[in-house]
């Protein structure tokens, strides 16, 4: 046996010789803190959801006698059906469905309009600077800090003068305007980070304002469109205030309809129907998050890295 072989042999014999990946301690204080916090917060958010879900699947009799945390003994979908199509507000008794379709009719144009206007504004502010464009951007950002309540009534007057008050399009306009500060900020910062030489190259190649936007900028910016889209979908869908203020009862969005169902005082409080109605209302943002959460995170991260 040569000297080198002996040393190798001894090294193999002693398992503690540091070599390869460093062993990890799963119960390090850092891990306990991290996972402890995560678990506590998950419970904090998931418990109410759980209660809502089980309650919505119970009959009224079961709710009256049982514990809120206990799972349903006899599962019934009756509350969901009722919440969707039969629950009564003070005015009518066709459930949430009316509000749902109203919300859809508000959401789609508002989403398209707000995202495209914000993207275009961000594009101009990032790539086609003009005299005073920075000041313009500053003023726009200031808009994010003005409380909605201050603007509520002046906007009523403006919409009335425009003849849009009470209509869906009035509300669409309001959503678009209020979406501007945050979404323009998102788009502008994303576009600013795109390499400047690309614009120069595109200009040499004869692409104009729209050509550069649609052929170069938009295809490179999918993540930020997704981020902006998600912010808008949830924001518009969850909106209550603008819906109440700027539309008439026949156009009320789902949130307002939900409120009216839950708060209508006729007979007994049907907790199961209320829970089902609430879950139904929250379903759209929930689904959006489930399907695009990953893109959302990627977009936010990309924006952060590129600064």
């Amino acid at each position: 046996m040569s000297a080198t072989e002996i040393t190798t042999a001894t090294r193999n014999a002693s398992a503690v010789a540091p070599r390869g990946a460093k062993p990890k301690n799963p119960f390090a204080p850092r891990n306990i803190m991290l996972y402890g916090t995560l678990i506590i917060f998950s419970i904090y958010y998931l418990l109410p959801l759980y209660v809502m879900l089980v309650t919505s699947l119970k009959g009224m009799a079961e709710i009256r006698v049982g514990n809120v945390f206990s799972p349903p003994v006899e599962i019934t979908f009756q509350p969901w059906v009722k919440a969707w199509s039969e629950a009564c507000t003070g005015i009518n008794c066709d459930g949430l469905s009316r509000g749902f379709w109203n919300s859809v009719r508000i959401l789609i144009p508002s989403l398209i309009l707000s995202v495209s206007v914000a993207a275009l504004t961000g594009y101009v502010l990032a790539c086609w600077r003009f005299k005073g464009s920075e000041i313009f951007f500053g003023i726009l950002l200031l808009g994010a800090f003005i409380p909605y309540q201050v603007l509520l009534y002046p906007l009523v007057i403006i919409l009335r003068e425009l003849g849009l008050f009470g209509s869906l399009w009035g509300l669409v306009l309001v959503h678009t305007v209020f979406a501007m500060p945050i979404n323009v900020l998102l788009f502008r910062n994303y576009f600013v980070a795109l390499p400047e030489e690309l614009f120069k190259a595109a200009r040499v190649d004869g692409a104009g304002f729209w050509g550069i936007f649609f052929r170069i900028v938009v295809p490179m910016s999918l993540p930020i469109f997704v981020v902006s889209g998600i912010i808008q979908v949830t924001g518009i869908w969850n909106d209550f205030l603008f819906g109440v203020v700027y539309t008439r009862p026949e156009n009320y969005p789902m949130t307002v309809q939900l409120n009216n169902i839950v708060n209508s005082v006729q007979g007994v409080k049907e907790y199961n129907v209320n829970m089902a109605a609430t879950l139904l209302t929250g379903l759209v943002p929930l689904v959006v998050y489930f399907f695009s959460g990953r893109l959302f995170v990627r977009g936010i991260a990309a924006g952060a890295v590129k600064g």
Partner: protein, 361 residues
Amino acid sequence: MTHSIEIKELKLSFGAVTVLEDLNLQVGQGEFLVLLGSSGCGKSTLLNCIAGLLDITDGEIHIQGRNVTWEEPSQRGIGMVFQSYALYPQMTVEGNLTFGLKNARVPKDEIAKRIARAAEVLQIEPLLKRKPGALSGGQRQRVAIGRALVRDVDVFLFDEPLSNLDAKLRADLRVEIKRLHQTLKNTMIYVTHDQVEAMTLADRIAIMKGGQIMQLAPPSEIYNRPVNKYVAGFIGSPAMNFMEGQLDSTAQRFDTGRGLDFSVQGYEFASAPTSGPVWLGLRPEHIQSGRWAEGQPVQLEALVDMVEPMGSDTQVWAKVNGQDLRFRMDGQEAVAIGDRMPIGFDPARLSLFDKTTEKRL
């Protein structure tokens, strides 16, 4: 139409900052002009003005005899290659090449013809269906050159096209660009701060400093007869030796005043010889040492301070009568710190600059 590009009294300011002022430049047909200068001297700015990517403050720009001062970049008959390649990431190589042509509504068969030709010249045929992300740096730059090529223009503008590449690739592509120029015979303006690129590629070099062109001349003239001290110090590696001193009344002898004086007989004055305080410039590679110093018109003795062997040659830092001097010697010669050795040079290869104006005498 003698000039391919003519720039008259160009001025460009960003707000209060004036980057280019009263700049005049003429580039001949088929000429390869290199803009060389340190960082921030306005090379890219000048190129962007020519391309029309910056709105100029004052002056005129003519390309192929046409006043294009107010025209869009795409209408100026130029193609441009950028340092960061600036390929459109979501398009294939072919899409990148055809983008400009489609914008210009060039007919389909014509597009195909030009793509085929560019792809052949640049040897990028196998890459046409790939996205830029799947290409190496050298391939990307080739595609970027191709994008300028298919535009079928008279003038190519390059903004440091090779500075993102590693040394070997840079040398390869440099040769390719030179070959391309010989084949196409287009006018090319090429920005770089690499001396070697400038010297090897250029028909003429424009040395820029602070937004002004210091000297515009063929490489050999820039090297041998720099018009001022800045150009002299900028060109050449290792840099020129400078000595402060006095020319005597006959303008025949140079004296540092600190124990070193020698004759400069044989120096060709640019104008009438003048005496007075001067800077004397001497290139390290023009100093002969050891036995090669014999027979040189000026002979001195050097005390070796430091030695940098580079293989092919050795750089020596030495003191000559209290004056620091750097020179090169054959890499095979033995030399050690503390050695004394004879050195010599020919005054015809010197450069003399006025002490105050720093202009060549």
